[in-house]
Amino acid sequence: MLTTILVILTALVTDTARTDLFLSGQFGQGTQVLEGRQTGGFEVKAQSVYDINPVSRVFGEASYTWQDCEQTRGVDNADYRLTAPYWTMDTIGGDLRREIYYFRGGYRMLKNHILWHAALQFRAEQSYRMRDPRAKNKVSDLRVEASIGYQWNRYAFSLMAYGGRYKQNNEIRFYSELGETTIYHMVNDDEPYARFSSNNKVSYYSGYRAGGALQLLPTTGFMAGIQYDWFTFTKELTINTQVPIVRLNSHTLSAQFGYVSQRWRVHATAGMELKRGEQYIYGDNANNYYQLLLVTQNYSKNYLFGNLYGDYRLNLPLGDMLFVGKANYDQFLQHWSEQVQIRYTFPIKNRYSWFVAPQACLHQYDHAQAWQIILATGLTF
């Protein structure tokens, strides 16, 4: 979303060259039913911005995340927010483990007021359950992006475009000799595709993404931006051949406004997502070959989302402290969250510093709330 874009472009303009190596641990209550009663995990991450010379900069990031969500219910997919409402579901659920590998790298040039960049980003994820129903999801999410802009005084105006390819293989196995529970392939919020519920346990999400953003970025001063994102996928079942059952088109428009100073930064983002879905209707089948009769629109919903962000840097006699506050709202999940983070950076030797960054999150829903604690520590140089 636009917040991510902001981070990307800010790295191009305002951030100074540095490298962070850190380890973070997370523990807390499941943030919603789909994520289980309790969740915990850790992340190892390295990120770096390096100036080759006054005009050329390279940046990169790599991370590994391990997460265990206890007693997840219903949804067997990875990326449930992205694939909603076309989920694969069961009635049992269970603990779900996630492993996420994330890489990102790019190049930026700023010369004669012209600013451009290109970057490649890849996320691989697998999530799995070790008891029946044994869901196993494999996700690959590739994105290529580029921007061009103009820098004038303390402002940069950037036009960015990106495209991506998304795949998710979703497979569910049962080892019980007694049999299986019904697997549901949802075609609406509360309605499965009854004809394909049951023993169709292998599905495939094939998706594409494209979008663009216009952004006004300051070194200090007002910032503003607007972004459009299009994401589409087709869900196919593997029944001898691939049988597409639904297709989703998601259009997201968001806007951002804020202010950046040397010591503090605030911005607000608001957006709306339009999800439009179609269902494939089949006639007779012979030997599991289904005759496609028609494709009909069956899902249309709009969701609002937004967030507020603010940070303040306080220089101390020894080191500095960064105070960060965030608030998010997602109408789709009926979810509010507030996060508070304090990052204390302590110089060790030469340009090396150690930092510790505790973070507390409170997630609120219509009828429940959950808390999470994240503790990160590492080196920066």
């Binding site: 049962f174 019980s176 000799e177 007694l178 049999g179 299986e180 529970t181 019904t182 075609v187 919020d189 309605e191 595709y193 009854a194 004809r195 519920s197 049951s198 023993n199 001898n240 051949t241 691939q242 428009l253 806007a255 406004f257 607000a268 608001a270 957006g271 709306m272 209707i281 089949y282 006639g283 007779d284 089948n285 012979a286 030997n287 599991n288 070959y289 009769l293 028609l294 009909t296 629109q297 069956n298 899902y299 249309s300 919903k301 709009n302 609002l304 937004g306 507020l308 506050g325 965030k326 608030a327 998010n328 709202y329 509010w336 507030e338 609120q364 219509d366 009828h367 429940a368 709330q369």
Partner: protein, 406 residues
């Protein structure tokens, strides 16, 4: 749950979000019901019927497994693929009309032919079918306790001698494109035939009485507390197996059915996922089993096509055929969500029965299909037999081999 009190950040976010939303998305609105609909008009041909009343039109959405009903011959449904059925009274008698596989993409008219509902011809019927087996207290599968309950649904005492228990050769959850070779209006293809022995007057059954046919007529509760005592069954089927690893158990105190034919050289286990139809038949008077098997026209090789994305492939198969007029009763079986086709003529059975939505459903053990009781006349039970198993049976009931025992 804890009350959700919004803090300062949240309140500020609401304010900003609301303002930005008003500016950016003035027509933001949540929409949910977007399915296209179409109107289906049924033209009902009811030859010989002067007055139709109590009409109910049902459109069954094959893809979504949902029913829409209306009391007129016009119904509005979401676009899709439907089975249509009409239930009504024609000149005071029950009439039915069925139309399978109707594509509804826009407003359309469908012609249907109505006929009187068979009231049962006073014969034996399959009253309860238990094919799934049970689950042991240790969570293991147990399959030796399958059974069939036959029931005299006539007003007179009938002889069960010569009744043949049939299992379909075709699978209800795997459709073949038979094309011009579709024989179902004339024959029922079988893969197992077991006959009640007797000379014609050996096993006489009074009205409202049942016959219990067990796989193994033994007390299964000794090995599995969740099973039944079938040692008092009237008959069992026994197979001499060609495999030492799969042998049958013979209770010498219970009469064995005559094995006429079975597709396997080992032991017959009725399809335990409920994909195969079961029937009862009798050979015509004077026809012996030897004569039947010597009749080439009843051992038929037929072609069918397998349609795949890679193309259409012709295949052939050979099955023993039972002419439809020999059939006494037919019960099509298929899991409710994997049903693909009727493997018998829809004149023998226009519907199908099931115990679970899928064949491998873990909850299917210990469940049976049981024919509904239509009436109890002078203390004698009469079962419903309209030649539509979907209407005639209770699905997924707790199996009880002696439910119909008086």
């Amino acid at each position: 749950m804890i009350n959700t009190q919004k803090n300062v950040w949240t309140r500020l976010l609401i304010l900003v979000l609301s303002l930005l939303s008003i500016v950016l998305f003035p027509s933001c609105e949540k929409k949910t019901d977007v399915a296209d609909t179409a109107k289906v008009t049924v033209v009902l041909h009811a030859d010989g019927i002067s007055q139709v009343s109590n009409l109910a039109l049902t459109a069954h959405d094959i893809n979504m497994n949902k029913d829409y009903t209306d009391s007129a011959l016009v119904i509005t449904v979401p676009v899709g693929y439907y089975d249509l059925s009409v239930h009504a009274l024609g000149d005071g008698q029950a009439i039915r009309a069925y139309k399978r596989g109707v594509k509804v993409e826009r407003d359309c008219t469908v012609e249907m032919n109505a006929s009187f509902v068979p009231q049962g011809d006073g014969n034996f019927v399959l009253a309860e079918i238990f094919f799934a087996g049970t689950e042991t207290p240790e969570g293991k599968r147990y399959i030796g306790d399958k059974y069939f309950v036959l029931f005299n649904n006539a007003a007179d005492t009938l002889s069960a001698d010569g009744l043949i228990l049939l299992e379909a050769d075709l699978n209800s959850a795997q459709k073949y494109d038979l094309g011009d070779h579709d024989f179902r209006d004339k024959y029922f293809a079988v893969d197992a035939m077991y006959r009640i022995p007797g000379d014609g007057n050996t096993y006489r059954v009074a009205p409202g009485q049942m016959i219990l046919i067990a796989d193994n007529a033994m007390n299964h509760t000794a090995a599995n507390a969740n099973s039944f005592d079938l040692s008092q069954a009237d008959f069992e089927w026994y197979d001499v197996s060609s495999s030492a690893g799969a042998t049958d158990v013979d209770n010498p105190d219970v009469t064995n059915l005559d094995k006429l034919y079975c597709y396997t050289q080992t032991i017959w286990v009725p399809h335990n996922q409920g994909h195969k139809s079961f029937g009862l038949a009798r050979f015509p008077e004077g026809l012996t089993a030897e004569q039947y098997f010597a009749t080439d026209s009843l051992y038929v090789k037929y072609d069918y096509e397998v349609v795949t994305s890679a193309g259409t492939f012709s295949q052939s198969r050979k099955s023993y055929m039972i002419p439809n007029e020999w059939i006494v009763d037919m019960v099509n079986m298929a899991p409710s969500e994997t049903f693909q086709w009727l493997t018998s003529s829809d004149k023998l059975d226009a519907g199908y029965a099931y115990v679970a939505p899928t064949g491998s459903d873990v909850t299917r053990f210990g469940k049976a299909v049981r024919r509904k009781t239509k009436a109890i006349l002078n203390g004698v039970r009469v079962l419903q037999d309209t030649n539509n198993s979907t209407d005639d049976f209770e699905m997924g009931v707790a199996a009880n081999p002696f439910y119909f025992k008086n």
